[in-house]
Amino acid sequence: MKLFLSALSLSIGFAAAAGAQQSVLTVYTYDSFVAEWGPGPAVEAAFEETCGCDLQFVAAGDGAALLARIQLEGKRTDADIVLGLDSNLTARAAATGLLTPHNRHDEWDLPVRWDDPLFVPYDWGFFAFVYDETRTAEPPGSMEALARSDIRVVIQDPRSSTPGLGLLLWVKHAYGERAKSIWQELADNVVTVTPGWSEAYGMFLDGHAEMVLSYTTSPAYHMIAEGDRTKRAAAFAEGHYMQVEVAARLAASDQPELADMFLEFMAGDVFQGLIPTTNWMYPAKMPASGLPVEFGELVQPSKALLYSSDDAASVRDVALAEWLEALSQ
């Protein structure tokens, strides 16, 4: 059986097997990272110039699904680096035992202290609901106001997507025991739950919904790339949940030196300089070029909310059960 399957697979895979002899660094990441307008293409070009290797990004769904993917592939994975987990997932990711420490000692420009031995941060931001002011003149000022309104929103699945998980923890952090009832009220505002950020944002832009769960920094994309000032992030009175996006090395990597080089590159000025205008987030280390002026126009949350990664892991299961129950009805 095994032999037969392997033989069949070999013959089928033959067409795809191209003969690249350069050493290959494989980075698993989320869909929007490798989009044409995302950081992927520029990062790939810049890193390949210095490493003399072939950097391959593999899009494997959204952030949280990345974790399931490396678990699913186990020790046999091709991935050398996983890029796109966030602080809410790090405890779970560490527990898989599939990752290995990075040995870096950087000074980060993060609003929180960061000294995790496994995960290297590369950017951060605040979750927010983004709207189009030509379609929604009076955006809600809080989660409760949104739940009471008849505004249609697209959100992401907390099981597969880091923004989805972020929203789950946002509601839980801000409302605690009341989280479940908030979700019950929000349920009728939710047009659909997408597996990843890209689908959700695309649906919002296409007019399927008035608001989409994204980041306070998303409007910067429309201002800078499109000269469009109609997209705004709604400021919520209870504060905004934070996200720190991270990357880590896989223990099973066959390119440990290249992987280290990549993490080094990631913390460097070139990569960090690309972040604000390609990944549309705050860089983990302020680049020499600083932030574009448009970032000054973005909503500044009145309060930053964040669970420690251990708390996030323990709160997640309860919050997820509440979410599933509220949205199953």
């Binding site: 697979s9 699913l72 046999r76 099981r159 047009v191 296409d206 599933l324």
Partner: protein, 514 residues
Amino acid sequence: MTRVASAASLALVLFLSVGTFVAVSLRADTSLALGTSDWAAIRFTFVQAALSSAISCLLAVPVARAVARRNFPGRSLLITLLGAPFILPTIVAIVGILAVFGSTGLLGSLVRAVGIRAPEIYGLHGVVLAHVFFNLPLATRFVLQGWLAVPSERLRTAAALGFGPREVFTHIERPMLRSVLPGALVVVFLVCLSSFAVALIMGGGPRATTIELAIYQAFMFEFDVGRAARLALIQFMLGICAGIVAWRVALPTGFGAGLDRPAERWDARRPGLRLADGLVITAVSLFLLLPLGTVLIEGFGEMFRLPSSVYFAAARSLAVALASVLLMLALALPIALAVSRTSQRQALLAEGAGLLMIAASPMVVGLGLYIILFPLVDPISVALAVTALVNAGTSLPFALRAIIPAVRDAEVNFGSLADSLGLNGAARVRLLILPRTMRPLGFAMGITAALSMGDLGVIALFGSTDAPTLPLMLYRLMGAYRMEQASGAALLLVLLSILVFWTFDRGGRINSAS
């Protein structure tokens, strides 16, 4: 020789259906009670399947009646179109349905132009809509067959006795429908029971999740194999129950020939009925053609501008389809030969094996294979082979249904002659069986190839990230919201599916000995 081959085929079928099930049940996490979301998935699976089958069959009645009793230009084209869902990849239909019925699609824009907020398509109604799109044609073909199987003398007797439409309904149509509809309902229910791709894209989150989708999510989102396996147990039980019901209800085949001649009807000449039938035919044609037409129009320009990765994916899908066809033949032929020659009880066993494959859902089989393969080999590296194998298994019931009667005919009509000539073993297969079964064989190969080409099931579960098949690629393009490329890939996929079906089916006809 044939006995060994058929035993091997049966063993493989049993491995795919029962073996994977055993693997799944050993890993199932049965320590926890079913949660709210599990119950919601079970409930939703039932509700959507019941609604989809009821609506499909209900609508199929007027459509089949109109097609049965009217002759109009394009009639045979419409009948061909009604057979299309067999070879139309689910995900392509979804792309088309979204483009027409989505809130920003064709109809949504029309509705908005009038100043009404377009209703959202995601959720139960979207899932049911997509299922009706797929199964209304299927149900219509079943009912149409019932209609055209009414002997023409009976219709003439009715006319000679002066029956009006009402009497024709009570005395001819109602009894016919009573015998045809239960089978059609069961088939459609069964198809919708293991719905995955539709719920994956058109569902609206936890409130519209089928069990198959819940298995996928538990596995792909959380890598919770225990929970996925527990859901798979439930899905398998449901499939078995439905399979038993299907066994007891006479199942229509849906492939019958002779749908090309309308029945003469003297009670239906009234202008009102004529108008009603015309409206029904127009409506159903639009319902089926608009989504496909949109895919064609939106995809046409894009198809030639696709990145090369999409063409690689297409090549991979073609290879999977061909491998599926070969595996299907290796499974189906020995079983068909055994069935046509062995005792009644063994024949029943073989047909039961085919039925088992209906009950075994792709996600359950996929999950089982993952669990079995993981200690032996990297499941992802054999994902394409597994896809080919599972698709061969999935199309086995269809294939057996098409091939067994032909093999049996060949044996009944020419078996004694062959015996008297000492024509046995491989020579008998090559000189007697194959030439006499070319047509159904070609058809079965075509169906298998098309099903495999468009499948978004197992491959979604552990398809490789850098070597996807075309449907998986299409799903990822949709996920990254690259809709233009998605529509181009959708068109490419549907064209390839039609091509592989046509090639095999045509090949069977040309080489047919009769």
